[in-house]
Symmetry: C2
Subunit: 232 residues, 2 copies
DNA sequence: ATCACACGCTTGTCATACAAACAAACTCGC
DNA sequence: GCGAGTTTGTTTGTATGACAAGCGTGTGAT
């Protein structure tokens, strides 16, 4: 049998990749990695020079990111990287704690056996990444894991929402991933999800998914520092 | 006692309302009311002339609506009003059926008594609107009802998501609102939600909210016409 | 020290221009 | 008549330059 991890040779969409998309990806990446911290002011002219693009394209990209909630509009004084307050973060985790169980449920309903097998195989890779301890690798592997579940669930809309929500809390998550205790706990939780999925046990899978989000929330929100000014 | 329906004299935010926001509202409204049907191609030059704005501002508004999912990008051939496939609609209702119970739960947790009373009072207005049968009035009143719940829940992020999701299915909902049988059913379901909220009974309120979404879904998806081409 | 004013920086909006992608019409050879 | 290739027109993508308006800050006068 072929390696179930192998991608089915993606059709290679000949994406013309408009400039604004590249800009968006670049900025998203910067926020995700922490190169742009929450609260940073984004000055159009500076960004144009740094990215070497025209103001037109840049502004279109900014508008799109703004609509995604990643950037916040100060009234007439430009954009900043959205600062997620504690209350925002709690709300985001609360939303995730109903959305992710839904996705897992739909995965059980809709994913064909080969995707289930591939997920199982990938969960082993993820586990190894956790044990390896390389943060980069963990994050990448976990994202891949999520992608598989969301794709298998056949609910692209929820997938989209989740991507945006998790991006908003990426500053929090970055701190939480490096915690050793959280890592070993994550492994257990994920294995619970996978094993329930293998049995096609919807209720158990949902419960495991919810537990996983709840615990992530606890870990991410633990520091309990006073929350900053309002968000939007 | 003062009329609990009275608004507390909103602070009247001096919104400079950038042109692009007006454009967005205008387009959103057009889609919501059906003036722009799903699948309609949006040609920049035409819109500029109709709205009497420059291409720059228009394009920024379009990008923002695109990020919200209301507009879909054909590769290099412009934007269309997003066509929601049957599968998309099912997924949207499925998401709503977990999000709305969450919101209702948070309303029970967080809304102060006066907001609960105001909600109760408004539910009577909504009921009258249903009995009156004027579609415009029903929609407006129902939106107001939802706004109160979402605001009271203190979860602006979920509020935002719900607004976007419901806008996507507005073509479906428009057809469903006029159904007499659905209307009387709606009244009952909403009263169930309100009465559970009054008792501050989280579990019952959640259950009632979920039931309401499920039934809305059944009604909206009933026609069961073959779904069109892919969405995005 | 305070108030008012002026200046600079930044965003909001517009007009214009040109390249590139795409679709449709059109032409020419068979 | 018909198909292949070419031309043409429409539409989007990107860049540039310009100017008004909003906001913050510094300066100067009192």
């Amino acid at each position: 049998m072929a390696n179930p991890l192998a991608e089915p040779l993606n059709p290679l969409v000949h994406e013309p990749a408009p400039l604004r998309n590249k800009i968006m990806n670049s900025l998203r990446r910067a926020i995700e990695t922490g190169a742009l911290e929450p609260g940073t002011r984004l000055v159009e002219k500076d960004l144009c020079e740094k990215l070497n693009v025209s103001r037109t394209s840049l502004r279109e990209a900014l508008r799109q990111l703004q609509a995604e909630g990643i950037l916040t509009d100060l009234n007439n004084r430009g954009l900043t990287v959205t600062t997620v307050t504690r209350s925002d973060a709690e709300n985001i985790y609360r939303i995730r704690s109903v959305l992710e169980p839904l996705i897992v449920e739909q995965f059980v309903e809709n994913a064909p056996d080969d995707e289930v097998q591939a997920l199982k195989a990938h969960s082993e890779v993820l586990k190894k990444a956790y044990l390896g301890g390389n943060a980069e690798e963990i994050v990448a592997s976990k994202r891949d894991f999520y992608d598989r579940i969301c794709t298998g669930a056949r609910n692209p809309i929820a997938f989209d929402l989740l991507k945006k929500l998790t991006l908003l809390t990426s500053p929090l998550r970055r701190r939480s991933v490096v915690r050793k205790d959280r890592q070993s706990q994550s492994i257990i939780e994920i294995e619970a999800i996978v094993s329930a999925i293998l049995k096609r046990d919807k209720a158990a899978a949902k419960a495991a998914a919810e537990k996983h989000v709840s615990n992530s929330a606890i870990s991410a929100l633990r520091p309990s520092e006073g929350d900053a000014k309002a968000s939007r």
